[in-house]
Chain length 403, copies 2
């Protein structure tokens, strides 16, 4: 709860931005989600129960909601008042859209000279492609990620997860948190700018450094490790297992567990280079032994022998796994009339001041009255804004019907 007392104005929707602000909210920040009167489109995506998208619920826990018409001057005025009173503003409009609404960095700094504003966009806030529309898939294609994902002889492959959205959200949360960790007394306006493509490029790791050093492009290598053999998925008597002997010491342990220490000095296999040169040959020595027992036996024996080994798990298997449950990676959150909702837990465990669920994802506009009252708006003014459609939805009851 290290971000307790930090107020975040959240103009984001869909996934990248809401993931960022959810991380901040989980760490204790008071996140005020500003939605259009029709709500974050995520409210209508993903599978749900009892009129609630579990996708939306899991990415918006610990947030409060105000439904505001930002096309009206009065709506923009409310936003200005919220910004004056906040520590952080996060947005994931296309680059430049927020400035067109009257909230350039300069205008924001004038409103609140201590604000941290965080922009999340496809290509970042500037550069030749900044104005292009972009989504996760485009960032996957243009970051080089796809070029190294997939099997050698197939086409470049997107990640099965919206990886650039999520990594950009994570970097944005890091940028905000690191900025907030700076000196309190003299804090001045800071602008944090995160692009989906930049974010995924930053994960190219040795693929980038090797390319820069050698000029040679990396290759797609499927389940083979590009630099190590043996390594990958191996058949057993039942299901395949993942084995990762990432250096010579662990390779030696693998041979010991398999009773094939003779291979250590076999001139065909005595260096990683030789084993890489003909991956099938070393596999042909190892796999027949693995086929004599089931996966559970090998996972136990190999891990005991110091060889990282595991099953390839489906998502339902993961969510039921004893380790995953022990780590509270699946939580059940009461959601009023919608019933209990299961969602993923906190990826970062902090003690003693850890993350927690303070309240479930909000109904659309659920906290409009409370938040505007706290800003000093009179009941009459709030009623007027509501009557004119600037402030939408409102009571929990109404929002439940809309949801």
């Amino acid at each position: 709860m290290s971000l307790k007392g930090i107020r975040v104005i959240d103009l984001t929707r869909i996934i990248s931005g809401p993931f960022c602000t959810q991380l901040l909210a989980d760490f204790g920040a008071d996140v005020i989600k500003i939605e259009t009167p029709s709500g974050d489109p995520l409210r209508r995506q993903g599978k749900g129960r009892n009129g609630l998208s579990w996708y939306f619920a899991s990415y918006n826990r610990n947030k409060r909601s105000v439904a505001l018409d930002l096309r009206s001057p009065e709506g923009l005025e409310v936003l200005s008042d919220l910004v004056r009173d906040a520590d952080v503003l996060v947005e994931n409009f296309r680059a430049g859209v927020l400035a067109d609404m009257g909230f350039s960095d300069q205008a924001l700094e004038a409103l609140n000279p201590r604000l941290v504003v965080c922009h999340i966009s496809g290509f970042g806030a500037d550069g030749p492609y900044a104005q292009r529309p972009s989504f996760d898939f485009i960032a996957q294609a243009m970051s080089g990620f796809m070029s190294v994902n997939g099997n050698r002889d197939d086409e470049p492959l997107r990640s099965g997860l919206p990886i650039s959205d999520l990594v950009a959200g994570l970097y944005a949360a890091l940028g905000v948190a690191a900025t907030l960790a700076g000196p309190r007394e003299n804090r001045r306006f800071q602008s944090v700018d995160v692009g989906l493509t930049d974010s995924l490029i930053s994960l190219l790791s040795y693929m980038a450094s090797d390319t820069l050093a050698s000029g040679q492009p990396p290759e797609r290598s499927g389940n083979d490790h590009p630099l190590v053999a043996p390594y990958g998925l191996f058949q057993t008597a039942d299901t395949p297992i993942a084995i990762a002997p990432s250096n010579d010491m662990i390779y030696a342990r693998l041979l010991k567990v398999l009773g094939r220490e003779d291979l250590l000095t076999d001139p065909r296999f005595d260096t990683n280079e030789k084993r890489m040169a003909d991956r099938r040959a070393i596999r042909a020595e190892i796999e027949p032994i693995l086929l004599t027992e089931g996966s559970a036996t090998w996972i136990e024996r190999l891990n005991k022998g110091g060889v990282p080994t595991g099953p390839v798990m489906t998502v339902p298997e993961v969510l039921e796994d004893p380790q995953v449950r022990h780590r509270d990676m699946v939580l059940e959150v009461p959601h009023g009339a919608h019933g209990p909702v299961q969602m993923l837990g906190f990826p970062v465990k902090v003690a003693p001041d850890g993350c927690d669920i303070r309240h479930p994802a909000p109904e659309l506009g659920e906290h409009g009255d409370a938040i505007l009252s706290a800003l000093g708006y009179s009941a009459a003014r709030i009623a007027d804004l509501r009557a004119r459609g600037v402030l939408a939805a409102g009571s929990g009851e109404e929002a439940v019907r809309r949801g």
Copy 2:
């Protein structure tokens, strides 16, 4: 430079931990990398020039190095003194190893009641699998990531990048930064615990929420989006392009650019569900038009028409791309006798107090004398530690020869 003045003792090696501490160093923290006398194994991995691994150089910039024999009591004493003087300790030993060295959380809190300690491990600090050895590939297998990555009819596929290592490093940096952002005055000891598997699970996003809501496992869908059609790679007159019309509005824009607005009301294709049901049918309408022009033409036309579209780029293409260069995602850092080193830039752009390169990755043990002197060690004591091999390497000269 928001973490300026924060001192981090860095007991990590290889990739996940060093990525975490590099992010903290880029934000301005003073990161003291403790290496064994033989150095981080990464010094000997990846392609290099002039005796320097560019992989190591890119993951250790802005850090200082002390080479310390932690198997000796004197080495552990030096570590204790460093911890007393620090704000943060980061480690990525196997769970429990640091405690076995005498540095349990309890012992660390006794040394420094304001310390933030961050543990990075395969399965996290506790639970039934905590003692298992683990690497990125095992986390990919056991998080469900592989089960949703790849083509429908192929085997589950690892990501081409060490994605769980990197995401765990990123979460660890976030956990540290968020904790440091908490109240200064009353800061108390905090333990941050990040597991590779938990980290990747937390990115399952709608794959997890949909599974929890419906009980149905997600499927691998290759380059098809699991929820939208058309979407994916499409052939043009030259190279394939990625097109991401993720909702009906953008689908309509796509048809407009292609001159096929007639399809909008075609009863075979008038809902996303119908288009999903036979992806090949809608592709058969669209692809022949795309084949009439080259990729550059379509990328320009479609983006102009509001349809996110891009090329599938190789890593060398990415590193030369004008947008990537504009965003300073490739930096050149002087490395003394090793010559200039190219490496990836900062994924988070902050202004005015942004990240910068203060110094290149250190030679092994380069800063031993300076750091111990600053702790109050006399020249005689430092010479003695060096004579007995507790403090290894030393002057820049010597380290260059070893490098």
